[in-house]
Symmetry: C2
């Protein structure tokens, strides 16, 4: 299985991206780097690595409009999607412009049958393991039917991730049916009808970290706010703890002893561990990461893409969508 | 200054509520307990305290509909609002049914001039102090004009809290103007026109904890999800840290030394420290707390209500709203 990586995508591309690719290749991932060949080869040389490179002379910069993809056939992210469509690779990973990656996927690959809008799936660590939330930000405004499709894709993803018997919660601001905004109130009966006992009902913000349900659906606005709030809170809490541990001689002494235990908690909430978010609902396995990703995040994104494609992610999503329309 | 406390509101009322009232009274707050006199007096007797009680034979239970307030004039929360309207108290605090408290405030006190919908203000701890977010959940669906009124009330609140030169951020999923959902895109130019340089522009989820702006406005759905997500994440992170600190002999030894430093971080993210959320936009100072509040939260709610009313909160909100319509 080969994975195309947009070598030019991300705040510190191609340096960080190539570094992550080299690390992943050393762990057995077959990576095809898509980007400016001279620049990518120069980075590879720094690592003494010889990965295959597919030349793409252009790329979409972070500050450009996502729609640029339409008129830039030589842009790295678009070339990567073409390789996926032709079957030369089995997945695409990009840490670049997420809007442009989404646009390129829609343009080149198209949507899966039964999907009105593709969605980003975000993983949160939870008390009971992991919570898969979608949409993480692909669709700021959603219709109720989108949420049903997100739920079905989320279930397929949870199954491909090895979760037995996953359930879906509808993110709201009150547990009872009827609580929430207009979107949630309309989506509730649709989810109930489509998912049967796989639908848990409403969940609240706190349930994401408590892990009340394995899958949580919401619109891409709320989902993206939740994702970034959670990252910001983890960062600030850990900063305060670090400060507290340096605040007295006694605390500094204790800090030496708890350092290791602490590092484990930190790793648990580090966004880099997840690497990239799968874009579900397009005709191909596409993973979109943070522009600020470091080499570890790139490596993890590639490892995760390999595992999920190996577990038949796309086929599972397709089948679940079909069962929805029987 | 006298504060009416709904003695029957909350999951563990009147016990916990009376305990909090007694603690606040010992710190100089003049509390009037509104509720079933026999029950409240029995609780007061347990503390050997003699606070004034205003008898209200009825109360709205947590599982009842908020609209019950309309046909239950003897309900404690409604009686408390009547006392506020008549000027017998200067503020109302309730840890009970938040929908019912909102309904009672609207029914008895009415809205401030210039306000279409009142909003709940939530405090988040931040790297730079505190972030005031509204709406925390009073209005699941909002129109763009509501967000402008929330912003103005948030500025007045920040000023009453002693924040110099506060700025307002519009919660979105991208920093540039034009990013976000339809509500945000429509609200942006309205905020710019109404607030001038007090408007910072869009902020993202992470900015709430980073403290990029002192005030953040959003719809009550997103705001309530953010509030509960933040509480859930803090709880889960602290659980993991506690587990990590007990995971080895070395860590347990270190934990003894860092315990105090740690307690300070924990207190910083404890929702009980804020006690209750002010309901801004009604003709009176109303504070609504968690149904699950403990005695510390009730005490802090009363102390906070006293401080804010003393700082002329209501007058400041009124004046800022007027300046909006000049």
């Amino acid at each position: 299985m080969k994975i195309a990586l947009d070598a030019m995508g991300g705040d510190r591309a191609p340096q960080v991206v190539v570094a992550g690719a080299v690390a992943a290749a050393r762990e057995g991932v077959e990576v095809l780097l898509v980007g400016d060949e001279a620049q990518v080869r120069a980075e590879l040389a720094r690592w003494g690595a010889d990965l295959p490179v597919w030349h793409a002379p252009d790329h979409i910069r972070m500050e450009e409009a996502a729609t640029e993809v339409r008129r830039r056939p030589q842009a790295s992210v678009r070339v990567a999607m073409e390789l996926l469509k032709r079957g030369e690779v089995q997945a695409v990973v990009s840490m670049g412009h997420s809007g442009a990656t989404l646009a390129a996927a829609l343009l080149v690959l198209g949507r899966l049958k039964g999907v009105e809008r593709p969605a980003l799936l975000v993983e949160f660590p939870s008390l009971r393991g992991r919570t898969f939330l979608l949409d993480g930000g692909a669709n700021a405004d959603c219709r109720p039917s989108f949420l049903v499709q997100f739920a079905v894709m989320g279930l397929a993803y949870a199954e491909a991730s090895g979760v037995p018997n996953p359930k879906v919660g509808l993110l709201s601001i009150g547990e009872e049916e009827g609580k929430g905004n207009a979107l949630v109130q309309e989506a509730y009966p649709l989810l109930e009808a489509a998912l049967g006992e796989r639908f848990f009902g409403n969940v609240e913000g706190r349930d994401i970290f408590l892990g009340t349900t394995e899958v949580v659906v919401t619109d891409g606005f709320t989902g993206n706010v939740a994702l970034k709030l959670a990252e910001g809170e983890a960062k600030v809490l850990l900063t305060w703890i670090k400060e507290a541990l340096a605040s007295s001689f006694r605390a500094r002494l204790g800090a030496l002893l708890v350092r290791e235990a602490f590092a484990r908690v930190k790793a648990r909430v580090d966004p880099a561990q997840y690497g990239a978010m799968p874009l579900l609902g397009v005709e191909g396995a596409v993973f979109i990461g943070h522009g600020s990703a470091d080499a570890l995040a790139v490596k993890n994104a590639l490892l995760r893409a390999k595992a999920l494609v190996g577990a038949g992610l796309l086929q599972r999503v397709r089948e679940r969508l079909l069962s929805l329309h029987v």
